[in-house]
Structures are given as C-alpha cells and as structure tokens.
C-alpha cells in the first residue's frame, strides 16, 4: 500500500510542480494518473522513489516513511520500487541481459556485479521474465540494437526482476507508436495483475488510461482535480483536468 499525503515540490526555478497531492494505491491496484504537460505527473512519481526530493508531505510504502530515509535505507527502499521510464533509459551499450540484471544490483556485491556473476535464482528469474515479456533469445543483443517496443519490454523486465512492492511507471508509451503503445500498456497492466504488484502509471493518452485503469486520478497544476473509475471520466471531468479543453478531447470518450 502506497500512501501519499500533502506532497509538495517547488523547483529551484520557481515552478510549483506539486501543491499538496494526496493519494493512495492499494495492493493489487492499478492506478493511472492523467493530466496536461506540466501538471506534476512526473514529479509525483519521481518524488516517490526520491529521484526528486519533495519539499513537504509524506510518502509511505507498506508503512515505511520514505521522505526521511537516510541514503543507505533509501537504497534499500528503492529496491522495492520498480520504475519504468518514458525514454526507456536502458544502458545503451549493455546487453539486454545486463540491463535486466541491473534490476538486481541492489542485492549483489560490487565484485560480483563487475564480473556479471549473479546468483542462479536471479538468472533464472531474468530468463523467465524475458520470456514473459516476449524477448526470449534476445539476451545477448545490445540495447541500442532494439526497436522502441522491444526496449520498453526490457525496461519492464528490469523493473519486474526487482520483485518490487510497487511499479512506478512514467509515461511508458509516449515514445512509441499507437499500436506498440497499446501492446506495451496491456503488458504492463497484465503483469502487474499477474504478479500482484500495484502500479501507479502516468499517462498522456486518455483512451489508454480509460481502457486499462482500475482507477484514474486527474492532476492539474499540481493538485488532484479528479479521482474515480474510468467510467466517471466524462466530458466535464476532462474539462476540469485539462482546463476547459474538454470538447477537443471528446474523441477520447469514444
């Protein structure tokens, strides 16, 4: 269970990205966050694993307060949170397998990591996960040799082998074509349900959110402005989230 309350973040540039955001993600729940660019979606996700340091508020994962953890404990907490990125963020010059295994780096010693000697159970899990995301036999390809959809599958596998308590997913499909986007989003939500990992997913694409979400949170100018099941996301709600642009988004309701 992830609980965020009164989270605030102001960047040194003066941009107030979050102005008191509160939300919860229950175990087994897949929650989508939608909102216009600059609404604070990415900041929200990045504050949770503290790639960005929040200014105020609290974040707890299974009862552990994350905002005040000292470095060593923060690293331990990060192992419990699998993150999937917009630009995939694979290490381009490493192989698919090395990228997937980097999800286990929090658990192996430096010397073993250097020599690529991961425990057999980690290896088994990496192979099984690659098969599950549809990349069987690709383990020795270099990440920069893959297509966009394949890269994001590697990104998903990397997050999954962490055996995380939550998936933090930041715009996973904005660098992909529509068809691949759908396949990738289906895969993420399926896997989350299958492995019983709750997920918090940022997305631009309203139709995708409506299709795959159990619950949708609308973020506007750093505040939660909507919360409800996909069915409740009507024209009025879109108008509120996207600041009166509801009519243009009507197509999204089809």
């Amino acid at each position: 269970m992830l609980e965020v309350s009164a989270l605030a973040k102001r960047y040194p540039t003066g941009d107030e990205a979050l102005r008191g955001v509160s939300l919860t993600v229950a175990d087994d729940e897949v929650v989508f966050v939608i909102g216009p660019s600059g609404a604070g979606k990415s900041t929200l996700i990045r504050c949770i694993n503290r790639l960005v340091e929040p200014d105020a508020g609290s974040i707890t994962l299974d009862g552990i307060e994350l905002t005040t953890l000292p470095p060593a404990e923060l690293r331990r907490a990060r192992r419990q949170m699998g993150m999937i990125f917009q630009e995939f963020n694979l290490v381009e010059r490493l192989t698919v397998m090395e990228n997937v295994l980097s999800g286990r780096l929090g658990y192996v010693g430096l010397w073993k990591a250097w020599r690529r000697r991961f425990p057999p159970e980690d290896m088994a899990m990496a192979f099984a996960t690659l098969r599950r995301v549809g990349l069987e036999g690709m383990e020795n390809k270099r990440a920069d040799a893959l297509s966009g959809g394949q890269r994001q599958r590697v990104g998903i596998a990397r997050a999954l082998v962490q055996r995380p308590k939550i998936l933090l997913v930041d715009e996973p499909t904005s660098s992909l074509d529509p068809k691949t986007s759908e396949a990738v989003m289906a895969l993420i939500t399926e896997l989350a349900v299958e492995a019983r990992i709750p997920a918090l997913i940022n997305i631009h694409d309203v139709p995708l959110a409506r299709r795959f979400a159990q619950r949708i949170i609308g973020l506007g100018a750093g505040r939660v402005v909507f919360e409800g099941p996909p069915a409740a996301l009507d024209r009025a709600a879109l108008g509120v989230i996207y600041g009166g642009a509801g009519e243009e988004l009507e197509g999204a309701l089809a």
């Binding site: 694993n49 790639l51 690293r75 331990r76 907490a77 990060r78 192992r79 419990q80 949170m81 699998g82 993150m83 990125f85 630009e87 963020n89 694979l90 290490v91 381009e92 010059r93 490493l94 090395e98 980097s102 999800g103 286990r104 780096l105 929090g106 192996v108 430096l110 990591a113 250097w114 990104g155 990397r158 962490q162």
Partner: protein, 263 residues
C-alpha cells in the same frame, strides 16, 4: 516621418572605440617585442648558414651505433607503455572524482585539484623535478609521463563523464543500486569507448614526449639524442631523428587505426 535605413552590426564591445584600440595596442606590443628581442635579419641569415653546415655534416646519417639507438628507442617505448597503463589505472578514478555529475562537491574539488596540478607544468618541468627526486633514467621519465596522464587523460575523461545521458544513470540508481554499482552499470558503459580511445591516444602522445624528456636526463631516446648533439655527432643525430620520425609516425598510425575500430 521616414526612417533612414541605416543599420550597423552590433559591436561585441561595450563601446565602439574599444575594438580599434585593441588592434592598435596589439600592433604596438608586437612592434616593441621585435625591437626588444633584437630580431635582426643579418643574424637570422648567419644562423641559417650555420644550420646549413650542421645539416651538411649530418649527411649521410650514421647508423653504425644502431645498438645504442635501439636501446634508447626500446626504453622510450617502455616508458610510454608503462606510463600509459599506470596513467589509465590512476586516471579513471581521478576522472570520476573530477566529474561534477557523479562526484560530491568535496571529492570533486580534490579531483579537479589533481587534474590541475597534472596540467599546470609542462612535462619538461615535471621531468626536471622527478630526475632530482628519483635520479637519472627511465624511472623518472615514466613517472613524468604518468603525471602528464593524470592531467590530460583525467580531464578529457571527466568531461566525457559530464556529458553522459543522465537517464541511463538514473534508471540504475532507481533500482536501489549503490554508488559503485551505479558507476559500473550506468556510467562506465557510456564512457568505455572513450576510455579505450584516450588510452591509445595517450600512448601515442607519450611516445612523442618520451623522445624529448631524455634531454633533461629522464631516459629514453632523448638521452641518446642529447648525447649525440653534445658530441657534435650530427650524422648520428640525424639517424636518431629519422628513427624518431618513423616511430612517432608508427605510433600515430596505430593510434588512428585503433580509435577508428572502436567508434
């Protein structure tokens, strides 16, 4: 009312007179130098004549003492290779320390300090100091070139590290990996081609430098060269110079080939 269409490019100077003033100042300075250093056409002419005599005595090059020459060249190669290996091993950690995006501020300050010291002094000055410290011979030369590496290799590698893709590093950090693991998986793969390229380039530079620092007693073929000069054995000098040209050319060729391979 009509405006006259007069436009002049904006001046890079705060005031327009500053540009011409600078050029005038520079011209005056050069003129003063010419006068002060007694640059004198007659002296240049006499020097050229003398240089002609030296060249005349240098032909044909004398390879009789090839063993001495070979010894110097081998020593130079050894100095260059060993200092490159040592410079790379020491230079990588220094480069990491001197990269602002991966090192905390106090570490960064130390790293930049080491790089600055390595870059401040010309290798001849370093060689003079090290010859005093460890005595004549190739050890001093090898250490000189290593110090030079710390400046050159570490600075260029640190700049490369500062330009890497943050996203890749962030993704590794987000898995809960420690500092060392983030460096190994997020940073190192991104700069590895550069490390290989710089190492080869470094070897090429060291080979060239190793031919000169012998003049102050730091070993290598430079020592052989200096001795032949002081004995007026200009034909042997020419032989040495020809071999240096060949070996530096070879080094450059190997370096270019290797760097092309790892692009």
């Amino acid at each position: 009312m009509s405006h006259a269409a007069v436009w002049r490019p904006p001046s890079p100077w705060p005031a327009r007179w500053m540009g011409p003033a600078l050029w005038l100042g520079l011209a005056a300075f050069v003129g003063w130098n010419l006068w002060n250093l007694e640059v004198d056409a007659a002296r240049v002419a006499r020097g050229l004549a003398r240089a002609g005599t030296v060249f005349g005595r240098a032909f044909p090059p004398d390879f009789q003492r090839w063993e001495l020459l070979l010894e110097g060249i081998v020593e130079s190669l050894q100095m260059a290779t060993l200092s490159t290996a040592l410079g790379t091993v020491l230079g990588i950690p220094v480069a990491i320390m001197a990269a602002r995006n991966v090192a905390p501020l106090p570490v960064y300050a130390v790293g930049r300090g080491i790089v600055s010291v390595g870059r401040t002094f010309h290798e001849i000055i370093v060689a003079i100091i090290l010859v005093k410290a460890v005595g004549f011979g190739p050890l001093a030369g090898m250490l000189t070139l290593t110090v030079n590496s710390l400046g050159f290799f570490s600075k260029l590698l640190a700049e490369q590290i500062e330009q890497i893709d943050r996203g890749q590093v962030e993704a590794v950090r987000a898995t809960g990996a420690g500092r060392g693991a983030v460096l190994l998986y997020g940073v190192l793969p991104q700069v590895l081609p550069r490390i290989v390229g710089l190492t080869v380039y470094q070897w090429d530079i060291h080979l060239r430098q190793s031919t000169i620092i012998g003049i102050v007693g730091a070993g290598g073929v430079g020592t052989t060269l200096y001795n032949s000069f002081s004995r007026y054995d200009f034909d042997f000098t020419l032989a040495i110079l020809l071999v240096i040209v060949a070996i530096v050319g070879l080094g450059e060729w190997v370096s270019a080939w290797a760097r092309r391979r790892i692009q």
